[in-house]
């Protein structure tokens, strides 16, 4: 083998396959072996597709026939088990869908396959993407490769854990309120939540329709950018996807350009841990030394974002998850004598407590007599919050902030207090409400050697600027060369 696969960039792997330095089969076998070995320990995958080597062989056939190859030729990718892959079980980490074999593929998966990617398997997540710690999966808790006693974050915890442990070089996640950025941050990798409407949601099991976005997770900014190029763009199957131009994100760079970087006061409050504060301070100083300008800005509605977010997300979820009724697919209780018991028993026996709690919350917020005070009020606040961001971007190019107030927490530490768990999302949810692109970039480690990242938020549909800045930020990372425990 002529390249070190474990730390290779996606572009290097694809280039090596194209130039026949390595075969797609070798690449896939390498990551498949690693995934099979590490999964019992990390539980990052719900299913690993052992037949993915057949996909790799097809790529090698193309190589040998000198047929044109896609941008992701032979690149093994883990896909969050919230995205439908035709003829494969798509579980959403729920007992409800444990046996659901999708009759169709999501647009994102189709686009990956069209560029010759190899789908390695389906990664674990919080049940229906509802959670921030990957502890609510029906298929068990996912472990953080940096310390298996810690959560990987959620809901895309399986994708984050898999990439951090190099079970695959790239994975796909979804982000409704931080579900890509927070686990990327906890696992020391890069994760992009694109602008709402940038990537098709068709075939992605819906949590909250007006907030969900699919995005890439990888070791390097460039790899995320490359995958984003492939999955972005208008989809005629998704009315909320936009037909804006998709740039070659992987080639973006700031060059000599100096930019204005906003630091929102409310994102640097007392709740920040010393580790996070110090690491951010260090990169800010480095960037300032490079000539970039930092401006402290005000986002006073931040404290209301949690309530706004959970009201909207749970309301939409209560309707989105109503289709899981035991009629057409998924779990159907045996204890059923009439229609009413079919619904009640099938749903109650197969949804976990977090899902039930959110369905209750959302149903309440939409119910007669409470709609105006809860759902509608939240939608008005959402409008106001979006304007607040727009104002910041009048005089700033990007926002820089922490992703979470602290590094990953221990498994079981917070699961018993749902409100506290919700409050953890404070730094990531506003961008989903406003539809802005945002990403998590590793910048260092805590004293306990747990990863720390920074969040970059950009103007709506300005992924170019966000990625260019993220590349610069990536180069300022402290203590390069740290490896997770499982390496």
């Amino acid at each position: 083998m002529s390249i070190s696969l474990i730390n290779a960039k996606a572009s290097e792997i694809v280039e090596a396959i194209k130039s026949k330095k390595i075969s797609a089969l070798e690449v896939t076998e390498f990551f498949l072996k690693r995934a099979n070995e590490l999964n019992p320990q990390l539980n990052a995958f719900i299913s690993i597709d052992q037949s993915c080597i057949e996909q790799a062989k097809k790529i090698d056939m193309k190589v040998s026939k000198s047929e044109p190859l896609g941008k992701l030729a032979g690149l093994p990718i883990g896909v969050k088990d919230l995205l439908c892959v035709k003829d494969q079980v798509t579980t959403a980490a729920s007992k409800m869908l444990a046996n659901f074999k999708s009759p169709y593929s999501s647009t994102v998966v189709e686009r990956l396959v069209a560029e010759d990617a190899v789908i390695l398997g389906k990664t674990n997540l919080d049940e229906f993407a509802m959670g921030s710690s990957n502890e609510t999966s029906y298929f068990g808790v996912v472990k953080n490769p940096w310390n298996v006693e810690f959560v990987p974050g959620g809901s895309s915890g399986g994708s984050a854990s898999a990439v951090a442990a190099r079970m695959c070089p790239v994975a796909i996640g979804t982000d409704t309120g931080g579900s890509i950025r927070q686990p990327a941050n906890f696992c020391g990798i890069v994760g992009i939540k694109p602008s709402y409407g940038r990537v098709s949601r068709y075939g992605v099991v819906a949590f909250a329709s007006s907030l969900d976005q699919v995005g890439p997770m990888a070791t390097y900014v460039e790899d995320c950018a490359l995958v984003l190029e492939v999955i972005s763009g208008e989809d005629k199957m998704d009315s909320t996807s936009l037909g804006l131009e998709v740039a070659e994100y992987s080639k973006e760079s700031l060059g000599d350009k100096k930019i204005n970087i906003a630091l929102p006061k409310q994102y640097f409050g007392d709740a920040l841990s010393e580790d996070v504060k110090q690491n951010l301070q260090t990169v800010i100083e480095k960037l300032r030394a490079d000539g970039h300008k930092f401006n402290e800005v005000d986002l006073p509605l931040t404290e209301y974002a949690i309530s706004t977010y959970y009201l909207i997300a749970c309301s939409e979820a209560s309707s989105n998850l109503a289709r899981y009724d035991g009629v057409r697919y998924g779990y159907r209780s045996d204890e059923v004598s009439n229609l009413e018991s079919l619904y009640l028993k099938s749903r109650s026996e197969s949804f976990g407590p977090e899902v039930k709690r959110r369905l209750m919350l959302g149903t309440y917020a939409l119910s007669s007599g409470y709609y105006d005070a809860y759902f509608e009020k939240a939608c008005k606040l959402r409008a106001k919050l979006k304007k607040e961001f727009e104002k910041v971007f009048e005089s700033n190019d990007v926002i820089l902030s922490p992703v979470t107030t602290d590094t990953a927490f221990k498994i079981g530490e917070r699961i018993s207090d749902p409100l506290q768990m919700y409050l953890n999302d404070i730094l990531t949810i506003s961008t989903n409400l406003a539809g802005l692109p945002a990403m998590s970039v590793p910048i260092g480690y805590s004293k306990l050697k747990m990863p720390i990242g920074a969040q970059v938020i950009a103007r709506s549909f300005d992924e170019k600027q966000m990625i260019a800045f993220a590349k610069l930020l990536e180069s300022k990372k402290s203590q390069n060369g740290e490896q997770p425990d499982v390496f």
């Binding site: 035709k86 003829d87 074999k101 009759p103 169709y104 602008s195 409407g197 007006s210 005629k236 009315s239 909320t240 936009l242 209301y304 949690i306 309530s307 706004t308 959970y310 009201l311 009724d325 009629v327 057409r328 697919y329 998924g330 159907r332 004598s337 009439n338 229609l339 018991s341 079919l342 619904y343 009640l344 749903r347 109650s348 407590p353 039930k356 709690r357 369905l359 209750m360 919350l361 149903t363 309440y364 119910s367 409470y370 005070a373 809860y374 009020k377 939240a378 939608c379 008005k380 606040l381 959402r382 409008a383 979006k386 749902p418 409100l419 409400l433 406003a434 539809g435 802005l436 709506s460």
Partner: protein, 101 residues
């Protein structure tokens, strides 16, 4: 409107909401939800502090015009796979228990 003062999601409300959401709750679940929803919705009440009287509701981040599709038939060729997912079927029809047993 929500009345001033604390919100109390009592067991009766919990059962009403559970019924709308088609969830059957055990007594323990119902009582836990009563406490948790009271706690969470109490926190959400903070929203009342913000004046939103001049705001229009924002339901989606990019309120663009609806994209339209031409009225041309495209057959889905994997319909059997949809039917195969059904827990119970009879011929090509999906089978469910009766409305009233």
């Amino acid at each position: 409107m929500v009345h001033q003062g604390t919100i109390m999601i009592d067991l009766k409300t919990v059962q009403h909401i559970a019924n709308l959401a088609k969830l059957e709750l055990s007594d323990e679940e119902a009582s836990a939800f009563s406490d948790q929803l009271t706690d969470i919705l109490g926190h959400f009440k903070k929203l009342e502090e913000v004046d939103t009287s001049s705001e229009e509701c924002l339901y989606t981040p990019n309120p663009i015009a609806q994209r339209l599709r031409e009225d041309e038939v495209v057959e889905f060729n994997e319909r059997q796979k949809i039917i195969d997912n059904a827990p119970e079927s009879s011929g090509q029809l999906i089978k469910v228990p009766p409305v009233v047993s």
